[in-house]
Symmetry: C2
Subunit: 467 residues, 2 copies
């Protein structure tokens, strides 16, 4: 992939993920194939969230006065909120915003719902479209004006510890989610100047895209009591006192799909994990003039066995050259292709081609085909995760002076780790001089001095060129 | 149900379907229990549509110039479209509308997608939120400003017959869908003055609510070539000519849930068909001081057998009076309640109470419990459908003069059928004089005279007080 940006744009079109020709900048159409990937990805997350969260659905529109209530929060969003001013030909008395995120839509209702300590904790999530009037250069799935698949969870707790533990639980849920997709991540606490507007602190997942820039793919916020105080969300303690609640929220966007595509993809196109591939296997009969019927019968037999076992399998019997079919299914990232021709049939074999390594394996038709497929799928999934994770690890480099940062970023991109004092002034100085963003810190013990200001280092910090 | 409106409002709140206290008129919050019903209902429809349609997702916003292209269409919607005029603090160069429906969002893209006759037919659907600036009195799920669950399908065909057959196919899909939910319907062709703006003709499903007013629950539109000509959607014929396509679209809204609730509900609350009830069975242990452990063990055994069989079953072991639990689960409409106490246990019995008739049946614990539940569920589903369908049929009355219409509507509401000439002037006269709406016509052979103007009757027509 010499030019990731071009590759990404092409693959979205060729694999029919997104049509970016919609006549509004930053808003795109999910095509059938892309929609299916989106659906399977969403199902994985829903299964994880459904264990402890209730799914709800709040209105898209937020009245101006509710949005404006939490001053820090609204300041963070006021330049990127879309405003509705008219209904039909009538000017509205009160403007309404398209939600940029749903705190100000949800929390006035939470104030009505939370009564007693026995109501808590409450854990909700919703999957909705959200809107940001992005002025920067937009890019499908990465920087958009309509986030079509915002998966936001919001929780309410009676204690500070409850909220802190929820942050950990949320991180674990997202870890499991990204692990299933084989998307590697770096988890850090964002610097104070980059936390969610209104949050006490923000934990973030970043992954590394093929062009060496990091992409924020999930965030988890401890909101403390900020919003509770603004929206008057209180509960009655066992002693009959009224106390403010503690809250968290966390979310993921369409960027999950962008990273899934970018991280596993290669020069031949998409490379999808079994779990989310619209077709998990395709069968391509190799038909010559003679023996066509027998080959097709054997292919249908394989198809029905795999269907019965619950696989999403497709028998491609179009009247096209096999090579054209291979090209197409490789480009769409189907994990396993099964080829079967007259010679294979007389050898009682089928050829299995795995998309991740393009290796070919002969599988005997007399063996248990479902078992063989299961094994191969596990191996593919394992390999995708391992490859992606090792690649990302290999691109995190420790650096101990600013000159090396500049050179390292210039030449190789990737992520740089360094010892840092944690002071805002010092951090902003680093960002400006090295022309990179500080992603955040990990609060593990660290020895030595801050590589910029020389005072005692407090954190292991990370920086990178970011999307 | 003496006052349906009050009953409906109360049950939405008590059964935790919708919270209507959201601070924007006509926009509501789906609560966890309501969301689950919505999800199961949606799954049934998706399974039906997925057989022949591809799911896609288009942006919410429509640029002003695209919306304005189809003159008749925009005229039908211009008074109820929400307009976005600002992004952040900036006034936009071009206003954008929140989709009231998606023709004008989709069809510019269809013009890019359709190339050759081999591309056709194309069949898509999406499930999205749509917006109408309703000036009439709003009512949750029935008349809202944000339709949260608009299920709209759009198809493209090379011939007029293709589109006509698609209208029939769509009607069959919706019939199957409503039959599964036990929602009875009357299908008519809407009068010309009430068709979808831009359509050749509109077929509609109406059901009858408990207050005797009809509710439009689905529509199917034959769009002919109107939009094809406006948006320049053409295809190349086998002969190399370029022809305009023929189109249809059809959709359903949140009203499906409103009718599900209203039609099966009774004084005790919801009464849900098995297919869409969040819990399909609840088990209520009847615990006294003695023998509690054995009873609980037997309940857990039943629970695990039913879970293994795939049922959504809930063992209600809260420390509450059994009567309170009965009340609650009846109100939430759970199809079957299983009660089990020490005496039942010593008789090797459990008591099954079906929600639809409140009948109690003793089931031996030595019998196959899953088989018994399956039988009972079939019987409940069958009974719900039959009861609802007979009730609606009983409220369709044939009337042959206008005086009787007025009296009949005044006294009993319901639907009135009559012989009609089909002329617009005559129809509008009827609507005005009787103060009801003509729902539409069925194109079966009819003898006699139009009951209003006395000329030859062409159709069997229907009218009612409508929502």
């Amino acid at each position: 992939m010499t030019d990731f940006s071009e590759w990404f744009h092409n693959i979205l079109e060729e694999a029919e993920i997104i049509d970016s020709r919609y006549p509004i900048k930053g808003m795109h159409v999910w095509l059938p194939n892309g929609f299916k990937i989106r659906k399977y990805v969403l199902n994985i997350l829903k299964d994880l969230l459904d264990k402890e969260h209730e799914e709800v659905l709040f209105p898209l529109l937020v009245p101006e006065d509710e949005l404006a209530k939490e001053a820090i929060h609204v300041k963070g969003f006021e330049e990127e909120v879309y405003w509705i001013t008219h209904g039909g030909l009538t000017e509205l008395n009160k403007k309404m915003a398209l939600r940029p995120t749903s705190e100000t839509a949800m929390y006035p209702m939470f104030a009505l719902w939370v009564r007693s300590h026995t109501d808590l904790p409450m854990k909700f999530y919703q999957v909705v479209n959200t809107f940001r009037y992005e002025t920067k250069h937009t890019r499908p799935l990465i920087r958009v004006r309509e986030i079509t698949t915002f998966k936001e969870a919001h929780t309410v707790h009676s204690t500070k510890e409850g909220a802190e533990n929820q942050v950990k639980d949320a991180i674990n849920i997202y870890k499991e989610f990204f692990d299933i997709l084989g998307i590697p991540y770096l988890i850090t606490k964002r610097p104070v100047w980059d936390k969610f507007p209104g949050a006490e602190y923000t934990m973030a997942f970043d992954t590394l895209m093929p062009d060496g820039k990091t992409l924020q793919i999930a965030t988890v916020h401890n909101l403390g009591q900020t919003f509770a105080k603004t929206f008057e969300i209180t509960y009655e303690t066992p002693e009959g006192e009224h106390e403010y609640v503690y809250q968290t929220c966390y979310g993921l966007s369409d960027r999950v799909i962008a990273s899934l595509i970018g991280i596993h993809g290669d020069e031949s196109g998409l490379c999808l994990p079994n779990e989310v591939s619209p077709y998990q296997l395709v069968i391509v009969p190799i038909i010559f003039k003679k023996g066509g019927e027998e080959v097709m019968a054997a292919c249908k037999d394989i198809e029905s066995k795999l269907k019965d076992a619950g696989f999403r399998v497709h028998l491609d019997d179009r009247d096209l050259r096999a090579g054209k079919k291979f090209y197409e299914w490789e480009m769409r990232g189907v994990p396993i292709r099964i080829e079967l021709g007259p010679r294979d049939l007389s050898n009682k074999n089928a050829v299995f081609v795995r998309r991740d390594t393009m290796e070919k394996v002969n599988i005997s038709l007399e063996d248990d085909i479902v078992e063989n497929v299961n094994e191969l799928m596990s191996s593919i999934t394992f390999n995708l995760r391992k490859k992606a994770s090792e690649k990302m690890k290999g691109q995190i480099r420790e650096v101990d002076n600013l000159e090396d940062v500049k050179e390292s970023i210039e030449n190789e991109r990737g992520i740089i780790s360094f010892a840092w004092c944690g002071e805002e002034n010092c951090g902003k100085e680093i960002e400006e001089q090295a022309n990179v963003d500080i992603l955040g810190v990990q609060e593990e013990e660290i020895n030595g001095k801050c590589f910029q200001c020389g005072s005692e280092a407090k954190f292991k910090a990370f920086m990178a060129k970011t999307y």
